[in-house]
């Protein structure tokens, strides 16, 4: 197989473009060829499975079918939500062959494997990654924030220590950063209610912020565009004064920085909470 299937999804094609950019830059450094799935469709996110079971199944299955047609066997889905939807449906395809039939697809779609960004970086390329670190993050205290869908439910994600995962911490350590121990790493930020039920995202966001702040974190590191939008755009609304706000950095931006890539390439200038201060610290 040449190249890794790539499913950017809607967020990375829109408001989370810096996650897309930084991921492509990091893949380039690692010599991984990303092949975007032709004509991929939206995974349906929270809304499809909330109100229409069949639509949720067919949307994600269609993308897996398009990956197979392009000769791909693994699909990297950096967005935690997209990853979880693809993984749920890949699992469902095993029990329910009717889905492939309804799409006029031959059996075997379930063999297309969705990969989370953590699975990709930890299992496939971590040695190559270590070799590329030129700018250590020494002294940077990082709150690794998984949120929900990168890890849950373990039946789908295959994550072992689901209440206290270590995959992101391992990567941050490899970059020379210092992961903090904190209590909210896998709590929900309420992202599915960002538009429709704001009380939820402000309450959850504030609790997550307070927990990170309490243990002296300098930055959040995460891998979900919904978590990013909530934590990066709404700290002001959560009542946190500008000088106390914590930068919210995508895992791939952190890695790219440690590889010596510049802030603009990584989209570090696109955030609401300025990120420059966090990296200034590590230089001194």
């Amino acid at each position: 197989m040449s190249g890794l299937g790539y499913y950017p999804g809607c967020s990375l094609s829109g408001s989370a473009s810096e996650y897309d950019r930084s991921l492509r830059a990091v893949a380039g450094q690692l010599g991984v060829e990303l092949r975007e799935i032709p004509e991929w469709v939206c995974c349906g996110a929270t809304s499809a499975h909330a109100i229409d079971h069949n639509a949720a199944l067919c949307l994600a299955a269609d993308t897996l079918a398009k990956a197979r047609r392009a000769g791909l066997t693994e699909v990297l889905a950096p967005c935690a939500m997209c990853y979880q939807r693809l993984a749920v449906v890949a699992h469902e395809l095993k029990q329910n062959p009717g889905i492939a039939t309804a799409l006029d697809e031959a059996p075997g779609l379930e063999n297309i494997k969705p990969l989370s960004v953590l699975a990709w970086l930890n299992n496939g390329v971590s040695d190559a990654l270590q070799a590329k670190v030129t700018r250590s993050l020494t002294g940077l205290k990082v709150a690794c924030y998984y949120g929900c869908l990168l890890v849950r439910p373990p039946k789908i994600t295959g994550i072992q220590q689901v209440e206290a995962p270590r995959q992101m911490e391992q990567l941050v350590t490899l970059l020379g950063g210092q992961p903090v121990r904190w209590s909210m790493a896998t709590e929900c930020c309420g992202a599915s209610f960002a538009l429709s039920q704001k009380s939820t995202v402000l309450r959850q966001g504030r609790q997550i912020y307070d927990a990170a702040r309490k243990v002296g974190a300098d930055v959040f590191c995460l891998a979900c565009p919904m978590c990013h939008a909530n934590l990066d755009m709404r700290q002001g609304e959560m009542g946190i004064p500008a000088e106390a706000q914590l930068p919210v950095i995508y895992l791939t931006q952190l890695i790219g920085w440690a590889m010596g890539l510049d802030a603009t390439t990584l989209g570090l200038d696109k955030h609401f909470v300025p990120t420059a201060g966090a990296f200034a610290k590590e230089k001194s």
Binding site: S13, E39, A48, A50, D62, R152
Partner: protein, 192 residues
């Protein structure tokens, strides 16, 4: 009127492979639920499981228990975080049951009707319609569509321009993708 042939508990079993009857009411799902707090869910996820058990155990009151579960705000205020399903010692897929309750509630026209529940339903509808029509979500159109449906025209009004300034919100839609196969498949699965 459509007759209700399936119990909710059976549907949950079919969809998730797990049974509400296995729940022993330990309360762990409620304890770890981010939305089971004052001002959010009206009844706890544990209580939802109890209602589904009642629906099975007491046929004479099944309709009433089902109504209570469907018309609670709880399924709609569930964030889908999967904490409950992950932690249930009995292996019950509570988050999967919430999906079934939302879908069945809409099908039977029996859901909570509070303003916030209608807002949440409007968002899901806007999102799914947009995904099925265009194949991809254009965030600005999603927000506009939602605001038009709900009348929340000024909520987060300041965020839009700020996002645009950061290059995070695009005026024009990007690529769309063909969804004809998906739409056909959804229709086929509807009529087995």
């Amino acid at each position: 009127m459509t007759t209700v042939s399936q119990t909710l508990a059976n549907l949950v079993h079919q969809r998730t492979g797990t049974r509400p009857l296995d729940c022993y009411q330990c309360g762990r799902c409620a304890a770890g639920c981010p939305q089971n707090v004052p001002g959010e869910m009206d009844i706890s996820p544990t209580r939802i499981m109890r209602l589904l058990q009642g629906e099975t155990a007491f046929p004479e009151k099944a309709v009433e228990y089902a109504r209570q579960a469907l018309t609670a705000e709880t399924p709609w205020l569930c964030a889908g975080c999967q904490a409950c399903t992950t932690r249930c010692p009995q292996g019950v897929d509570i988050a999967g049951a919430m999906d079934v309750l939302r879908q069945e509630g809409l099908k039977r026209r029996m859901t909570a009707t509070t303003k916030r529940v209608r807002d949440i339903q409007a968002l899901h509808r806007t999102f799914l319609n947009s995904a099925l029509r265009h194949g991809r979500i254009h965030e600005l159109f999603l927000v506009i569509g939602y605001k038009l449906r709900t009348g929340h025209l000024f909520q987060d009004a300041a965020l839009g321009p700020a996002m645009m300034a950061k290059g995070k919100l695009h005026l024009l839609p990007g690529k769309s993708a063909d969804t004809s196969r998906v739409k056909t498949a959804v229709e086929r699965l509807k009529t087995p």
